[in-house]
């Protein structure tokens, strides 16, 4: 069943094949978490498979979020999350967590400072 569109989803029939059926990542990674290839990842010696090579190349230049990785690889978000979590556990990628702004967030002052930076960044656009 496809909601919200009429496009066929043939490419999504067995999306978890590349994760060998695993749907649970080793690490919870937010949609907007930024991913960066580490020196170990760049060395290319420790890569296991085509997907890992693609991700290392994608995140070797500018930082990419988990959502961008999923979109550019044309895999569902959950699949990208499993792949990235595995690679982070192997030291091939570094994951930079987003700053959360929930009302019950950890450190209110950090959030406020960041909001002010976002605001001045938007004004400069």
């Amino acid at each position: 069943m496809v909601l919200g569109g009429d496009e066929p989803t043939g490419s999504l029939v067995r999306p978890y094949a590349v994760t060998r059926g695993r749907t649970r990542p080793q690490l919870e990674i937010a949609l907007e978490a930024l991913v960066e290839t580490t020196a170990r990842g760049r060395s290319g010696q420790f890569l296991g498979g085509r997907e890992q090579k693609v991700i290392v190349d994608l995140c070797g230049g500018r930082l990419q979020s988990l959502a961008e990785i999923a979109a550019r690889m044309e895999v569902p978000l959950g699949v990208a999350r499993v792949l990235v979590a595995d690679m982070a556990a192997d030291g091939l990628l570094a994951v930079h967590e987003p700053t959360g702004f929930d009302a019950d967030g950890a450190d209110e002052s950090v959030g406020t400072e960041l909001l002010e930076r976002v605001l001045s960044g938007l004004r400069r656009l």
Partner: protein, 195 residues
């Protein structure tokens, strides 16, 4: 772990863009994004609720929900994402993840279909996610008074309601600025209230 020191404080933030189908969410995202809006799909299986212990994907019908998103580099070490997604409550599983940690949300409305955004406004209020209402003016026509819209949506007087043209970069920029200013003002009020 192996990241260079100069990127050790790298972080990101997000703003949610909600609204009914065809209201202009992707257009709004695209008007300010530095990348052509991308689409990512989340999949859920119809069996995922309650039957979750098995690590293999069950061979059941799947539902996909698409999100369009864009990116704004605020600074080298701070990137803002804008995530647009349909405001239907049947996509709850997606909404939870989407709003977690978000700065706030923009509810984009078409005055001809105001009811499309009722459930999403309920959801944001329930989750205490700050939001504003941006009325997309098709063809530059302002069909309704802001106060009429506010009444129809039954939202609190302090929630900002403004007109926008989702195609226009400057107009979208003003909406984003208004949202962040609103979130900051709420924080200041809260701090004053505590002390």
């Amino acid at each position: 772990m192996n990241s260079p020191a100069d990127t050790s404080r790298v972080t990101s933030a997000k703003i949610v863009i909600a609204g009914g189908f065809g209201v202009g969410k992707t257009t709004l995202v695209g008007s300010v994004s530095e990348i052509t809006p991308l689409t990512t799909e989340a999949i859920m299986t119809s069996a995922s609720e309650g039957v979750d212990d098995n690590n293999l994907v069950p061979d059941k019908a799947t539902t996909t929900v698409a999100m369009d998103f864009g990116r704004i580099t605020i600074d080298q070490d701070l990137i803002l994402y804008l995530f647009g997604t349909p405001g239907q409550t049947r996509f709850w599983f997606m909404w939870d993840e989407l709003v977690r940690g978000a700065i706030g949300a923009i509810v984009l409305v078409d005055t001809r279909r105001l009811a499309d955004c009722f459930s999403v406004i309920d959801f944001f209020e329930h989750r205490k996610l700050p939001y504003l209402v941006a009325v997309n003016c098709f063809d530059g026509k302002q069909l309704h008074e802001i106060n009429d819209i506010r009444d129809a949506l039954q939202i609190s007087h302090d929630v900002p309601v403004m007109y926008t043209d989702a195609r226009n970069r400057e107009s979208t920029k003003q909406v984003l600025i208004k949202l962040v200013e609103y979130v900051l003002s709420m924080r200041r009020t809260r701090t004053v209230g505590v002390h």
